[in-house]
């Protein structure tokens, strides 16, 4: 298991490094169109072939990795932090505080937030840089995507609250803040980490789904979301190399899963 974990860690680091070094590693710019070779299969010139506009798929995958592997985890981190704040407070405080916070959570799970994103897009200038626009979108996703993890963390807090060591600490006069920071949070960390890892691919694909409403990454910037969206134009004649973004997503998420110790995820 340890060697597997090490391998996963190395692989993850390599993928991150490759994404960050896209400007040096990519054989072509992500926007360059080699129109005579549109939809070409893999070759020496194009390692993963080209897309429908003749853009090098390998280069776009590298640049897309840089964007998605930075912004999606950032959004997931934001969402998890808010979820932890809300969920742990609700679970620990109980009473009307818990009821209010959980009803706010229910609201966040039910309201069509797509319209908030549309409103924000409407206020953004048309000539905002693609990177700024997508960063704002991911930030909003993070601010809106905390509700599901909050419920899980609240429930976990409830259970931990009644553990022997917590009862003992309270009996000894431990203050609530110290209780939360010293005893509750470290034990909730694995659950929060699990929610974080689950959220990352959700945010990656939310960005692709938002593309249908014009809220995704603007052309020509690649992201895993819009690369995955390209699967829609696949058919039996398309080569398996077009599944590369999906394969990379699966590899990265599996590595994340292997890197975090299983016993922590299981707590």
């Amino acid at each position: 298991m340890k060697s597997l974990r090490r391998t996963a860690l190395v692989l993850l680091a390599a993928i991150y490094l490759a994404g960050l070094s896209a400007a040096w590693l990519a054989p072509a710019g992500y926007a360059n169109q080699f129109r005579e070779s549109a939809g070409a299969p893999p070759s020496r010139a194009f390692l993963l072939g080209t897309d429908d506009l003749g853009r090098d798929s390998f280069s776009r995958l590298l640049y897309g990795s840089r964007l998605s592997l930075t912004l999606a985890p950032a959004a997931a981190l934001l969402a998890t932090l808010i979820a932890a704040l809300v969920g742990i407070t609700a679970g620990y405080a109980g009473g009307w505080i818990e009821i209010c916070l959980m009803r706010v959570t229910d609201l966040f799970l039910s309201i069509p937030w797509l319209f908030l994103l549309l409103i924000v897009r409407a206020f953004l200038p048309l000539n905002v840089r693609p990177l700024e626009s997508v960063a704002i979108t991911f930030c909003l996703l993070g601010l809106l995507g905390w509700a599901g993890p909050a419920r899980v963390l609240r429930s976990a807090t409830h259970e931990l609250k009644t553990e022997d060591y917590m009862v003992q600490a309270r009996a000894r006069g431990c203050r609530p803040l110290r209780l939360m920071l010293k005893h509750l949070l470290p034990n909730l960390e694995p659950i929060a980490a699990a929610q974080f890892w689950i959220s990352v691919p959700i945010f990656i694909l939310s960005e692709a789904n938002l593309g249908f409403l014009g809220l995704g990454v603007a052309e020509p910037l690649p992201s895993w979301g819009n690369l995955l969206g390209g699967l829609q134009s696949m058919d039996a004649q398309s080569g398996p190399w077009r599944l590369a973004p999906l394969a990379l997503l699966i590899v990265v998420m599996t590595c994340f899963h292997l890197v975090v110790p299983e016993e922590n995820l299981s707590k």
Partner: protein
């Protein structure tokens, strides 16, 4: 307990009302509200287009609209959908069964398979098995629902309710498996379980009496979330699989800025989310609704 339950129900009702109002506000403020794509028809004269714009102008303020909507809703009138030109209640009644069936199938299959798989993993307790379960979970978790739907469609399945239900079960299964495996695994290592094993109790009895039952409150907490997850996943899945359910209706209503329909669907989802969360609390006998007297 009764008074706490009443308070909880009232808080769900308050959430529903606030949720509906929030949805109405967002839709009214969203760009493109009141715009009819039919305006681009070149056959229409300028006067006709002007009349269309006047017809779709918001009638009164937002609060007035919402109060009027609630008053009608109490009488069973859920508004008229301009986008579909039919009563909203009729549309929802038509589409709800398809989503209920797909979501029900998704939740039932996903939960059954997830719990069973978690129980088997805990009962077998082999590292290789655990790794396999972890790999399957990671694979399915990182495979987004719309991609699963695309794979089914590209693989030649003609979509529809059954396919949508199958995909939704694949959405729920890894979440239940991962979470339940974690909870059950923790409890399986507890001293009382070791004692039960030492006493020679059967595996089945240990799993049922000493592992699963204590874990149920936490596991059931996921039930409320999974109902919301299923509906959230239903939207892209129903759109791709062309299943005529609420998810597809919600998507079309969002594109058409159909205010009454969106308020109705938001209220429905808020009610479902609130009640499922409340039910999870009651089943798990959480302090929020337990009579501690």
């Amino acid at each position: 307990m009764r008074s706490r339950l009443t308070h909880a129900l009232l808080s769900v009702l308050a959430t529903v009302l606030i949720g509906g109002f929030a949805a109405a506000t967002l839709v009214r403020l969203a760009p493109g509200y009141g715009v009819d794509p039919g305006e681009l028809d070149p056959r229409l004269s300028s006067e006709a287009i002007q009349k269309m714009r006047e017809r779709s102008k918001p009638d009164g303020g937002l609060i007035t609209y919402y109060v009027r909507y609630l008053a009608n809703a109490v009488r069973g009138e859920l508004g008229f959908s301009e986008g579909f030109r039919r009563p909203a209640a009729e549309l929802i009644a038509e589409r709800f069964p398809a989503t209920a069936r797909a979501a029900g199938m998704g939740l039932a299959c996903g939960w059954t398979l997830g719990l069973l798989a978690a129980l088997v993993t805990v009962a077998v307790a082999r590292p290789a098995f655990d790794l396999l379960a972890g790999a399957v979970t990671a694979f399915l978790l990182c495979l987004p629902s719309s991609v699963m739907a695309l794979i089914f469609v590209q693989g030649g399945h003609a979509g529809g309710e059954m396919v949508a239900g199958g995909i939704l079960s694949l959405v729920i299964f890894p979440r239940v498996l991962r979470f339940a495996r974690g909870i059950l695994g923790n409890i399986a290592g507890a001293p009382h379980v070791l004692q039960a094993r030492a006493k020679g109790l059967s595996t089945l009895r240990i799993i049922w009496m000493h592992v699963l039952r204590p874990a149920m409150p936490q596991i059931l907490a996921l039930l409320g979330v999974s109902a919301s997850v299923v509906f959230g996943a239903a939207i892209p899945v129903e759109v791709i699989c062309d299943s005529p359910g609420l998810g597809q209706l919600a998507w079309q209503a969002a594109l058409k800025r159909d205010l009454p329909l969106l308020i109705d669907i938001t209220l429905l989802v808020t009610i479902l989310t609130g009640l499922s969360g409340l039910a999870a609390e009651v089943i798990g006998v959480q302090p929020a609704v337990r009579d501690t007297a």
